[in-house]
């Protein structure tokens, strides 16, 4: 078992990082008056962990007996009927799905699944809640229509069905949904908190941790706890006992991008652009999300640039990322950004050095 899963806090009492939020959530569940919840925050900050802990608090250990299913829903969409396939994660009392997986058909998923949930009301035996919970992941990726139909379903079936929504950026969730939920902001853990967790894991695994080693991992993790723990485990596999000189392995794709960045800085020509395109394609076919590629590339480039160019470059990064969102193929826009950067940098070089 990976350490990330092994040391995931199972109950709200064991949560280490967001103790105040956990405390409040516990109070909320105890009062039997659970509104719809919306969790938002950057990745690796513990949204999922908290949601699982809340479910456990609601339904006891039954919430952990989950089964993974590939289910198909038959949907009547006007004149034709559609088959929508989705992977669900469900227990007796909750279902977890990512409706955005269905692409442009996500509206039907929202309507169908919630209807089905609401139809089968859990039996009211002693100690059981009279409602089910539906966990929806990545609500920020839902289309506008899906979000609008969600807001109606939220009200209509609220007697039997509570929603827990989870997303990265709440800007993309419509105001109408946000105002119907209790919003819970999950901030990324600070470096000290990550350090604390790493030290705890070190103790539990009976490892010798040199001072400063865990701090270096925490610093490298970009305040992403999951990543910190994964890196920690990787280091453990690579070399043990730890030494203070041991290098902390960067992520493969990040290394790849920093290589691309130095390629771009070295030469600005169509030939080089062609080479860079190949490397970016490598990243994309390995399922690195294109906006991450662009963001990381910007990060690497900014590190190497003169201050006066930085404004210009970050403007174009924002510009092309926006275009990428509107367009279909990510590679065009990343490549356009690289070409733009090359042209700017070249004319900067010419202006400065002649």
């Amino acid at each position: 078992m990976l350490w990330v899963d092994k040391y995931r806090p199972k109950t709200l009492d064991h949560v280490m990082v967001h103790t105040d939020i956990a405390h409040n959530l516990k109070k909320l569940v105890k009062e039997q008056d659970c509104p719809h919840l919306l969790f938002y925050g950057p990745s690796g900050s513990g949204k999922k962990t908290l949601i699982m802990a809340v479910l456990r608090q609601m339904f006891g250990s039954g919430a952990e007996k989950v089964k993974v299913e590939n289910r198909t829903w038959k949907v009547d969409a006007g004149s034709r009927s559609l088959d929508i396939e989705l992977t669900t994660l469900s227990s007796a009392n909750h279902i977890e799905i990512s409706p955005s997986d269905a692409g442009f058909q996500d509206r039907y998923v929202v309507q169908e699944v919630i209807k089905e949930m609401a139809k089968n009301r859990p039996i009211d035996t002693k100690g059981k809640k009279g409602f089910k919970v539906l966990v929806l992941n990545d609500v920020d990726k839902l289309s506008r229509e899906a979000q609008h139909s969600l807001r109606r379903t939220m009200e209509k079936y609220s007697a039997y069905c509570r929603l827990i929504l989870c997303c990265n950026s709440s800007s993309r969730v419509t105001e109408a949904i946000r105002s119907r939920c209790l919003n819970v902001r999950i901030n990324a853990p600070s470096e000290e908190q990550i350090l604390e967790v790493l030290e705890l894991i070190g103790r539990k695994e009976e490892l010798q941790l040199p001072a400063g080693f865990a701090a270096r991992i925490a610093e490298k993790s970009n305040r992403n706890l999951r990543r910190a723990i994964l890196t920690f485990e990787t280091c453990r596999v690579q070399q043990y006992p730890f030494t203070n000189k041991q290098t902390i392995p960067p992520m493969d794709w990040e290394e790849h991008i920093s290589e691309i960045a130095s390629d771009i800085m070295k030469e600005q020509s169509p030939k080089r652009l062609f080479l860079v395109r190949g490397k970016i394609y490598d990243l994309l076919i390995n399922c690195i999300p294109p906006e991450m590629v662009l963001k990381r590339l910007l990060h690497e480039l900014l590190r190497k640039l003169d201050a006066e160019l930085k404004h210009e470059v970050c403007h174009w990064a924002a510009y092309y990322e926006h275009r990428m969102r509107l367009g279909q193929k990510a590679i065009f826009h990343i490549e356009a950004f690289v070409a733009k950067f090359m042209s700017i940098y070249k004319s900067f070089l010419i202006a400065t050095f002649g």
Binding site: Y40, S170, E312, S343, Y345
Partner: protein, 338 residues
Amino acid sequence: MQSSQQWVEKYRPRQVKDVAYQEEVVRVLTNTLETGSCPHMLFYGPPGTGKTTTALAIARQLFGPELYKSRVLELNASDDRGINVVRTKIKDFAAVAVGTVKRKNGYLCPPFKIIVLDEADSMTEDAQNALRRTMETYSKVTRFFFICNYVSRIIEPLASRCAKFRFKPLSEEIMSSRILYICKEEGLCLDAKALSTLSSISHGDLRRAITYLQSAARLFGSSISSENLISVSGVVPEKVVEAVLQACRSGNFDFANKEVNNFIAEGYPASQMLTQLFEAIVEENDLSDEQKARISKKLGEADKCLVDGADEYLQLLDVVSNTMKAFSNMPEEFAYEC
């Protein structure tokens, strides 16, 4: 579940005279109640000012609970309101003839029905056009109430058939008195600072204020401080905004970049930040009008990008970089773009 009833619903005024702060509408509608005559109505104004409440209250008072079901049709944006619905459902309802009924409380129940079209600005233009003739044909037996945020999105022919009423954003005193009333009913304790915070973060939108109050009460119990309210409302704390502005003033790009990174890691919504940044910029004394205009333009562009789903970090960084340039009066154009 009784306890999870929304306070917004619980404390919705049931009578027209209880609607706060919108004197003209209340006067006209009180008159309607006595005489039983009523034109088509168009209510417009920002959210949370009582438009829907007023429409529902007048309908309830005119017809009473016994006739409400048969005399009132309520449609809002979550219902399907395409052109088909206008042609069938609305038309069928509008066509039914009704008579005068003497009600128990002495008022005459007027001989017409009411169709309330909530959020009418989200109806398509075609659907609105289809309504024109329907409104006139059945005007003897049916009155339409249009409710919308933006009156400019209602096509002119519809607007000219209605009596228009603008709903003003609630003033702070009215809002405070309403909030305090709810606090008393629910047994909450709210200090003066929290009260003023609540008024300022909800911008004259009473529904939003009540929602925040209820969320805070659920999470933090009966005594609520101004920090609690800020944390449930998703508003970015004042000092975080100030830190970002400070970074813009410093003129150091790397420092600002770090600040933006930090902001994203804290998980605040960037769209909210843009709104608050805008407020802060407008009130800033050291900036010339031109600088302010320049920054505001960028804020607008970034907001549009965010609505399109662009990345929060990149957009915010772009805004911050632009603001920084405006602060130090650097030229707007880029030097090396060809």
